[in-house]
């Protein structure tokens, strides 16, 4: 069974809370083809190959400035590799 980095699922678990709702919605809107699952206390979002969180889309929904560092208050776990985490976006994907 071989898979490619482009399609193999990556994902992130986010604590279910009012403040994180905008983050979850932003991820949903940014990542076409992602799947959102609700588990006790958390929301799990998976996507094939790549999952992106952009500052812009979170700020749009949150109605205030949001630093990507703030994602640390929301994230519970992830699988994949954090390929990028800069001022504008966070990218989770596989390397190979």
């Amino acid at each position: 069974m071989s898979t490619t980095a482009a399609t193999r699922p990556v994902g992130v678990d986010i604590q279910e809370s009012e403040t994180n709702r905008s983050v979850v919605e932003a991820i949903e809107a940014t990542n076409e083809g992602c799947t959102v699952q609700h588990m006790p206390g958390l929301v799990r979002i998976t996507a094939p190959g790549r999952l992106v969180v952009t500052r812009e889309s979170v700020e749009e929904r949150l109605g205030r400035e949001w630093e990507t560092h703030e994602f640390q208050l929301a994230i519970v776990s992830y699988f994949g590799h954090i390929k990028e985490w800069d001022d504008d976006e966070i990218v989770i994907a596989w390397d190979h």
Partner: protein, 513 residues
């Protein structure tokens, strides 16, 4: 007067991180570099360029303290509110707390061990990037130690089993399982420790270990544990990243590192997997309201995400899935049942209670383990039901044989035969050593010099080093008090629970006025 250029460009997060963290290093010239970093060569790992280490989080101290302070503010507000409102009474059932007793006794001291040894890494790794990441993790682990203690401290005030967790971690038989696991990692060199804890434990197994605990807490009315758990897990994502970066860094630095790293993955997967046996029974038996079965958790968090995701990625470097992983997969149908059956029989010598799974629980087990529960384990519980009716309650009248490596009682069965207990034998310097599985035997034979030192609780009891020759002597030495262990039904916790819930009933208020 010098005039600086106006409106200087703000550094990007990456540039800022580079400038503030990675550039702090210099090459020593008054002393030898090898004397400054004496521990990074003996393991055989070759590093050519420490600056190739990536830290995607790009944290700096100001950002770290800002977000960590915010996390703790939220967490302690929940703890205070819960304590003030007698929140413990809103749990599903006092027996739920057995999972938390195991957590405080077994896991919290490990967080502390991690704290100390990440400080070692924060001193002794040659590169400033990994040193800073290790330092953040070191103080994060102190945070986890303390937030766990502070969360569970409130339960300790009302329930048994929590009160002597520190001494017990050093002494009690079942706690030598997690303790020896971490002692093994701390006594390894810095790179092996990184693979053992940073990668195998934090990345490979952490979801399997913690997410079920936290979801279980959420499902059973334990708001503080859920809050500390998720809050800790948010640090954990940084730790997972450190582990993943560590492995990729080692693999990319030199091809000769690959077989060394592979052997560590093989060892530490199995070592860590054995520790998760305690989580397996917790999920399937200890939680009054079940979240998911061990089998489901294993399939999701390990088989799908790790074997299906991570190891495909690592295949690029020539890394293969861990040795003996097929045995872990085969065990997913039987593991929790075997472990709980064992804890059920030994809980008279433990600081948690167990009880007979009622009809509802058994039907859940039967639904979730259609291939094994009815055939293999239900008959045991049926026999125990008759035993209970006859006034018996099965507790083992003696001591079990322990595996020399994982230190769990020799309860595991052959991978292809769930009715035959697995016994593996090795000899080292004329002495016999038994292990519970091919995985543990392989680990023993790789480094017998290490595992012959194991402080095996059963052997120590028989040497007279644990308070005295009788079971009450040993229990006294463990600091176990009336109500800590044994059967849950009729226990002190159960009695208190019933009384407090009666007392909290509205109907009593008028009559006492």
């Amino acid at each position: 007067m010098t005039i600086a250029p106006k409106a200087p460009r703000k550094l990007t997060m990456k540039q800022r991180y580079e400038a503030l963290t990675r550039d702090l290093d210099w090459e020593p010239s008054y002393v030898e570099t090898s004397e400054v970093f004496p521990y990074t060569e003996f393991e055989g790992i070759k590093i050519h360029d420490w600056s190739k280490w990536e830290d995607p989080f790009r944290l700096t101290v100001d950002a770290y303290t800002k977000y960590q302070a915010e996390k703790d503010k939220r967490l302690y507000a929940v703890l205070d509110g819960f304590a003030q409102s007698q929140g413990h009474l809103s749990l599903t059932e006092a027996s739920y707390l057995n999972a938390m007793k195991l957590f405080l006794q077994g896991v919290t001291p490990l967080e502390y061990q991690a704290h100390r040894n990440f400080a070692y890494l924060a001193r002794h790794l040659n590169g400033p990037g990994p040193r800073f990441a290790a330092l953040c993790q070191s103080i994060d682990e102190m945070r986890h130690t303390q937030t766990e203690i502070h969360t569970l401290s409130n339960y300790n005030k009302y329930y048994g089993g929590f009160h002597n967790y520190l001494e017990q971690h050093d002494r009690v038989w079942y706690l030598s399982v997690p303790k020896s696991f971490f002692d093994d990692a701390l006594t390894a060199g810095p790179f092996e420790f990184l693979i053992a804890i940073g990668f195998s434990f934090e990345y490979l197994l952490t979801n399997l270990l913690f997410v079920p605990f936290m979801s279980g807490a959420s499902f059973n009315g334990d708001l503080p544990t859920m809050t500390f758990g998720f809050s800790a897990q948010s640090d954990e994502s940084r730790h997972m990243t450190l582990g993943l970066e560590a492995i990729k860094f080692l693999l990319e630095q030199d091809e000769a590192n690959v077989p060394i790293v592979q052997a560590w993955i093989d060892k530490w997967f199995w070592r860590g997997y054995r520790v998760t046996a305690l989580v397996a029974q917790m999920l399937d038996y200890m939680l009054p309201r079940k979240v998911m079965s061990w089998k489901e958790a294993f399939e999701l968090y390990f088989e799908e995400q790790m074997l299906g995701g991570l190891f495909q990625d690592l295949a690029f470097y020539g890394i293969t899935p861990p040795k003996h992983v097929e045995h872990a997969i085969a065990e997913k149908e039987v593991l929790s049942h075997q472990v709980y059956w064992t804890l059920y029989q030994f809980s008279h010598a433990a600081a948690f209670t167990t009880t007979f799974p009622d009809a509802e629980a058994q039907s859940w087990l039967s639904d979730n383990y259609p291939g094994t529960f009815d055939k293999l384990y239900k008959p045991l519980w049926d026999k125990e039901a008759r035993n209970l009716e006859a006034g018996g309650r099965h507790f083992v009248r003696g001591l079990p044989q322990l595996c020399q490596v994982c230190q769990i009682p020799m309860l595991f069965t052959e991978p292809d035969d769930p009715t035959t207990i697995c016994q593996r034998h090795s000899e080292y310097r004329g002495e016999k050593f038994q292990t519970c599985s091919d995985g543990c035997q392989w680990i023993f034979e790789r480094e017998p010099e290490k595992y012959v030192q194991a402080w095996l609780p059963v052997h120590q009891i028989y040497q007279g080093n644990c308070g005295g020759p009788t079971v009450p002597d040993v229990l006294a030495w463990y600091g176990i008090q009336e109500g800590d262990g044994g059967e849950y039904k009729g226990s002190l916790d159960a009695a208190h629970w019933a009384r407090w819930h009666d007392a909290a009933d509205h109907s009593h208020i008028g009559s006492e006025a």
